[in-house]
């Protein structure tokens, strides 16, 4: 134990940079006690290893398995630590570092490589040829990589399942009625008959008091009597906006907000999904909706902007109507 302590203390000193000069040690060639300790540790390793097999056969709880296998290795490591310190000769030797360089051989290599080329007369032309052939062949070999996906077709990012007249349904395909949507809570809606996993599919629905809505002119008429629908995918890094902050007592509590839990981008549902906090660079895309004759919510068109995180074309194009 004292030995271990000494090691740790002197190592700590070493950490601080106070290095001691090395003292070669004359170790006793034999150390029967240490040999016994090593044999004991090897025995423990055996026991633990057998323990693992027995545990696997009888009660394969992860804890027993990990404990037995882990300890087997730790005992083995301990046996080797004792071996290293007590059973083998620990003399320090000296040797030369390898030579920094082999100047003669370097010269020979250069000559051997350059010699055949000296016979050539049109070296620049050949160099150009090799460059051209190599470059184009490389390009040719890389071309099939384009089959992995459509490199040029970024318009695919603008395709959404939303069309005029498509009903908004819940996770199980039941259509949302306008009367289902209550104030101070949020709902997730999907396009009827669509694929819920698609990034442009999920929208979050909330109902605000019509008087509280402050939609900009371009988004006028996007709401259905105070019900607003936004893409559920954050415009910063693509996570789902599953936090709705909605004040119980709106005179004192924080204002309504849709929040993304990844980097806490915060959007104002009353003003068209504008960013009020966090890193997102643009507003949440808004889906225009209306109530049909049977009271169901339907899309009135497509989002006012591309769904999901920003990219170079995100402000140039709009999703197709």
């Amino acid at each position: 134990m004292i030995r271990v302590r000494d090691v740790l203390i002197s190592a700590a000193l070493l950490l601080l940079g106070r290095r001691r000069p090395s003292i070669p040690v004359e170790e006793d060639p034999g150390d029967p006690r240490a040999e016994l300790v090593v044999a004991g540790l090897l025995g423990l390793t055996t026991c633990a290893a057998i323990g693992f097999i027995v545990a696997y056969a009888l009660d394969p709880s992860t804890q027993l398995l990990g404990l037995s296998l882990g300890l087997a290795f730790i005992f083995l490591a301990a046996a080797l630590v004792v071996t290293a310190h007590r059973l083998v000769v620990n003399e320090e030797l000296e040797d030369d570092y390898p030579p920094e360089e082999h100047t003669a051989e370097q010269e020979e290599v250069v000559q051997l490589v350059e010699e055949p080329g000296e016979r050539l007369t049109r070296r620049r032309l050949l160099k150009l040829g090799v460059l051209g052939a190599g470059g184009t062949l490389g390009l040719a070999l890389a071309t099939p990589v384009l089959s992995l996906g459509h490199f040029l077709d970024t318009k695919a990012y603008l395709v959404t399942p939303w069309r005029r007249g498509r009903r908004l349904v819940d996770e199980n395909g039941r259509p949302w009625r306008a009367s289902d949507i209550e104030e101070r809570t949020f709902y997730t809606a999907f396009p009827e008959g669509g694929d819920n996993e698609e990034i442009a599919a999920p929208v979050v629905l909330v109902r605000l008091k019509p008087g509280d809505l402050r939609l900009p002119a371009t988004l006028r008429g996007y709401d259905a009597g105070g019900i607003v629908a936004y893409s559920k995918i954050c415009t910063h890094a693509g996570c789902a906006i599953s936090l709705y902050r909605t004040p119980l007592f709106d005179r004192a509590d924080p204002t309504p907000a849709l929040v993304c839990p990844c980097h806490y981008s915060t959007f104002d549902p009353a003003s068209g999904g504008t960013v009020t906090f966090g890193p997102a660079g643009r507003a949440l895309p808004m889906l225009p909706i209306e109530v049909d004759a049977r009271g169901h919510l339907r899309a009135k068109g497509n989002f006012d902007g591309p769904v999901g995180p920003s990219w170079w074309g995100v402000r140039i194009w709009r999703p197709e109507r």
Binding site: I74, L80, V89, D95, D153, A237, C262, H263, P279
Partner: protein, 449 residues
């Protein structure tokens, strides 16, 4: 027995001289030279446990309905990939032990590489003639971050799905080509085409591990060809190396460390729960959870993403630089770029083009130490910023307040800590000089008495 084997081998390969030399390879004796070995052994554990896991993993995002024994997931829709990892964790005997050991090994692998990098950086071990060894090492670290990220993204649990969405968004944010590049990699928009899972799988279990393994071999070969560096001593010089021979002194030490690493990883794998994906539940595009963080070695990137204020750089409707580019691409590129280029930057600064086998102590190179401390502080600040929401939840520190603190600290603390480190180095060297002078004076006094 041994004679027979050696003879057999030598006759067939002619390697007896090489073997003799290897057994007498000298290892300088210092604990910090073993940090890289921890990483090596963690890598071996990763490969071994990883191969076992491939025997059960299903690389498919096809949706299925869970009918296994774990009650809270009964009847839930999930991808076949996620279902297979739930099965590894619940029904495969010893499957969870191997899975958890694999995950702990990844965390430890990245950590050991970084500890090793600190030792190499602050002692100047990367200097001529070891720059190549160094940049191979940094490349291994960079590839490891990708490898580990894909590893936990493939599972398709709630956390990993959110991580994959963020990774996709960061890629989309690369100016001019990001959207095109991601369209190719993901086979369309997130959550990707049918090929995405097989692609991630082959990259995670074959392409990157083979690359990392090959670079590891190159790294170790170069270390051996140029020999270890050593700290300055009475006998240790630029031309003479002092150390213990591989056989019999160093081999038991290295093997002991290997077994200790494996042992610690299995103990953690059995006793400490890591990434309990059956508790997180399956990922769907429209789901998310609070407090989602990446594994620690990517925590600095989520911190950086959160610290950037709200803006996209646009020119007349053309989005030049989307927001996640700064935290997700620009910042890590700068950090890793600095680490890559540092040996050449330093040579520019001090004009030192000599061969170095003897290491500096951190205090011997105050500028390097100061810059290293500064860079580490920058990354450290963003790493802490990445867990600001947890600090708000646990300790009641205002998230917004913390964010502003970290934004200021990002610029101030690296400079401050750098200057402190610089001063400290100089003070330590000055203190040593005084001590040496005093000793010499005492000895002279004793001699004259």
């Amino acid at each position: 027995m041994i004679r027979k084997t050696v003879r057999w081998l030598d006759q067939r390969s002619g390697t007896a001289p090489f073997l003799r030399k290897s057994l007498r390879y000298l290892f300088p004796d210092h604990w910090s030279f073993l940090l890289g070995e921890i990483a090596l052994y963690a890598f071996v554990v990763l490969v071994a446990t990883g191969i076992y896991l491939t025997l059960f993993f299903v690389d498919s995002s096809s949706q299925t309905v869970y009918r296994g024994p774990y009650a809270p997931l009964h009847g839930q829709r999930m991808s076949e990939a996620y279902e297979s990892v739930v099965n590894i964790s619940t029904t495969v005997k010893a499957g969870l032990l191997i899975r958890q050991t694999h995950h702990w090994a990844a965390d430890v692998f990245a950590g050991a590489i970084i500890l090793h990098l600190f030792r190499v950086f602050f002692t100047g071990a990367y200097r001529k003639p070891r720059e190549l060894t160094y940049i191979i090492g940094i490349t291994i670290l960079a590839l490891t971050l990708f490898e580990a990220y894909i590893g936990y993204s493939m599972v398709d649990d709630l956390l990993s799905g959110m991580g994959l969405a963020i990774g996709w968004s960061v890629g989309m944010a690369i100016p001019f080509v990001g959207a095109n590049l991601m369209s190719v990699l993901f086979e369309g928009a997130f959550p990707g085409g049918q090929s995405l899972w097989p692609r991630m799988y082959i990259v995670h279990v074959f392409i990157l591990p083979v690359l990392i393994g090959t670079l590891l071999v190159a790294h170790l070969t170069l270390v051996a060809l140029r020999h270890h560096t050593q700290f300055k001593g009475k006998r240790e010089t630029e031309r003479r190396i002092v150390g213990m021979p591989a056989w019999p002194a160093q081999v038991p030490r290295s093997v002991a460390l290997a077994f200790a690493t494996v042992g610690v990883l299995f103990l953690l794998g059995g006793l400490v729960q890591i990434n309990p994906i059956w508790l997180w539940g399956p990922y769907h595009t429209y789901l998310s959870t609070n407090g989602a963080q990446p594994d620690w070695y990517l925590g600095w990137l989520i911190g950086a993403l959160r610290m950037v204020p709200s803006f996209d750089i646009t020119i007349d409707g053309y989005t030049l630089v989307p927001n996640p580019f700064w935290g997700g691409i620009a910042f890590p590129t700068l950090v890793i770029g600095f680490v890559y280029l540092w040996p050449w930057l330093e040579r520019r600064i001090n004009g030192d083009d000599a061969f170095h086998n003897v290491l500096d102590r951190p205090r011997d190179a105050p500028l390097r130490t100061a810059l290293g401390v500064g860079a580490a502080t920058t990354v450290g600040v963003t790493l802490l910023a990445g867990s600001a929401d947890r600090a708000d939840d646990l300790f009641g520190l205002s998230y917004n307040g913390q964010l502003w603190f970290y934004r200021v600290a990002f610029f101030v603390l690296p400079v401050l800590f750098g200057v402190i480190a610089y001063r400290l180095c100089n003070a330590l060297v000055a203190g040593e000089r005084v001590e040496a002078d005093r000793k010499r004076a005492e000895e002279e006094a004793r001699a004259t008495r």
